[in-house]
Subunit: 350 residues, 2 copies
């Protein structure tokens, strides 16, 4: 298969700094689009994969799965995009297209799901290379239309962080009359506040940090509670329909299960490394659930982008050059970012 | 308030044998019915409460919340029952009647819920006395109609064990086309097999005991799997819509979360004493849930009884005399019962 050399930033093994490298993209198949990557968000899972925190990392690795760009070429059978269109690629770039999950637009549950990096590349062999690169090639079925009215850099994080919080809100029917708790104000949590508010819910943020109480208010939350204040916390017993838990550090979920109304759920979108102990009474009482959620399907990702366009929602970002990636990873590891790093990919051309 | 002395079996403190005692029932209020108790099931939670395993036990205590009997007197304003009718009393005998939960027939979530024993008795003071007794008095709103076509002794366990498994099956929409796993074949599990089958689901039992594999098949399960057989277990990955977990011993739930399809739930109705560790990936992947459930509302309990009447479902029981209660508790503690003890309350008259 014909390929094209492009510039990228990646690493050849775990615990090595990222450096410029040359990778190959396939020449367009009939349903492929090629896009120049303008901006790529940095997700904590990029860092986890680079470090092989979850196992299963393949090297060389080019991370990046929050890409916004402009279409530069299209295959013969492409009909969703034309050259010059804005486009986005998130986590999923392929799936089996035949299973019940694919038929229901839930490609994230498909066993044949292919991710935008560190996933087997069935065309070129080896692993897929992500968005810390000049350009991307993908089947148009998995490429999103990016709204023209939003700041493009600040839109990039919607492709993963945005859909990760939007999808559970939709699945659990968040809207007017619903009270939503949000744990953790970071890349996911700050978008969760904006999206839940735009959906019409009453939003209560729980945080361990007094500084984040103020930040959460600025981001639009209705209430913000210091989780260390037991008297305050007790007031929220049996009051919330859903709690979105974006925390990846180990933490006690049981106190939050008890803030739920009957049939409520704590939905984990963070990934704590240790198993989370759940007391039996905390779910049996009130038919409550401890659940999880992970991104969303392609159609729902498009719906989320259109929703954010309508409500003028983007991420709060720090824009960096690709040459600053290792420092950004270092700061991300310490939680020192407000609230999402985005790489200005123009810097790769220099 | 006027009272009437009746015979009962109870205990005056934790870790004491049950003995015959005299208790008082209130004279009928306008909406009350009095019923002669014919049969009372023995639930493991009777034993837990007698032993104060969960704390909060009050003595003297008369256990029993699976009562089937015949109406012997009615208050002036009773219109659901007449003297001579069959009647049943389960776990709930009162609630606030004003909250959203009561309005939605979900009295089990009401903060003002009153249980049939060891719950504050607002009429007589002290605690409510349960069904190990000659008769019961309760507001007709919380009394069930017992079908005439079922064996009465074997119907008693439906009032708690039956609704405990029926309610989550209804809540999670179990029916034709759904695959249901059942963990633990005891008082709850054996009824779960019968009810899930009658609902039209495909039933897979998971058990640690080869003997229970055979029993589960006799009870009607479609498949029965030894959970110690890793190769067999692996075949069920991503295949079940719901797993009802009736096990009260400590056990690993994560292996069962991984047998669920996307959006599936492990629903706990047992009460393990230790917190249950849940790996983050096991819920995040496939938007799966670890949930709980506890009995059901009065209307749903009636629906369950009518369903069991239609499908001719009762519990497999061992009928005992009230004088054998301490031995029965001893055997129950060892799990030595197939599958529910029921007390023939005629024995109390001797």
């Amino acid at each position: 298969m014909q390929t094209k050399d492009i510039k990228a930033f990646g690493t050849t093994r775990a615990n090595e700094l990222l450096n410029e490298m040359t990778i190959q993209r396939r020449v367009l198949l009939p349903h492929d689009i090629e896009m120049e990557i303008l901006f790529c968000g940095i997700c904590h899972s990029d860092l986890h994969q680079v470090k092989n925190d979850f196992g299963g990392s393949n090297y060389p690795m080019v991370p990046g799965h929050e890409m916004v760009g402009r279409v530069t070429a299209i295959g013969n059978h492409v009909n969703k995009f034309k050259v010059g269109d804005l486009a986005g690629v998130g986590c999923i770039i392929d799936s089996c297209r035949e299973c019940d999950y694919c038929a229901q637009d839930e490609e994230m549950f498909c066993k044949g799901e292919v991710l935008s990096f560190n996933s087997p590349d069935k065309h070129l062999g080896g692993s897929s290379y992500g968005g810390y690169s000049e350009s991307y090639v993908a089947d148009e079925r998995y490429v999103l239309h990016v709204p023209e009215n939003l700041d493009l850099a600040a839109t990039a994080p919607l492709l993963c962080a945005g859909i990760t919080v939007y999808s559970p809100f939709k699945h659990w029917n968040i809207g007017p009359g619903k009270k939503v708790g949000i744990l953790g104000i970071g890349g996911l949590g700050h978008l969760a506040i904006k999206i839940a508010k735009a959906m019409g819910a009453h939003v209560v943020v729980f945080t361990t940090s007094p500084a984040k109480v103020e930040d959460a208010k600025r981001l639009g939350t209705d209430e913000a509670v210091l989780s260390s204040d037991a008297a305050q916390m007790a007031k929220y017993t049996d009051s919330l329909n859903l709690i979105l838990d974006t925390v990846s550090a180990n933490h006690d979920v049981n106190i939050y299960l008890n803030l739920l109304k009957a049939d409520g759920s704590v939905v984990l979108v963070g990934l704590p490394t240790d198993a989370i102990p759940i007391g039996a009474f905390n779910v049996v009482k009130g038919r409550r659930s401890f659940s999880g959620s992970n991104i969303g399907g392609i159609a729902e990702t498009q719906e989320m982008l259109d929703f954010c366009s309508k409500h003028n929602i983007t991420a709060d970002i720090e824009l960096i050059k690709i040459q600053e990636i290792n420092e950004a990873f270092h700061r991300l590891e310490k939680g020192d970012v407000h609230y999402r790093f985005v790489i200005d990919m123009a810097s790769l051309k220099k």
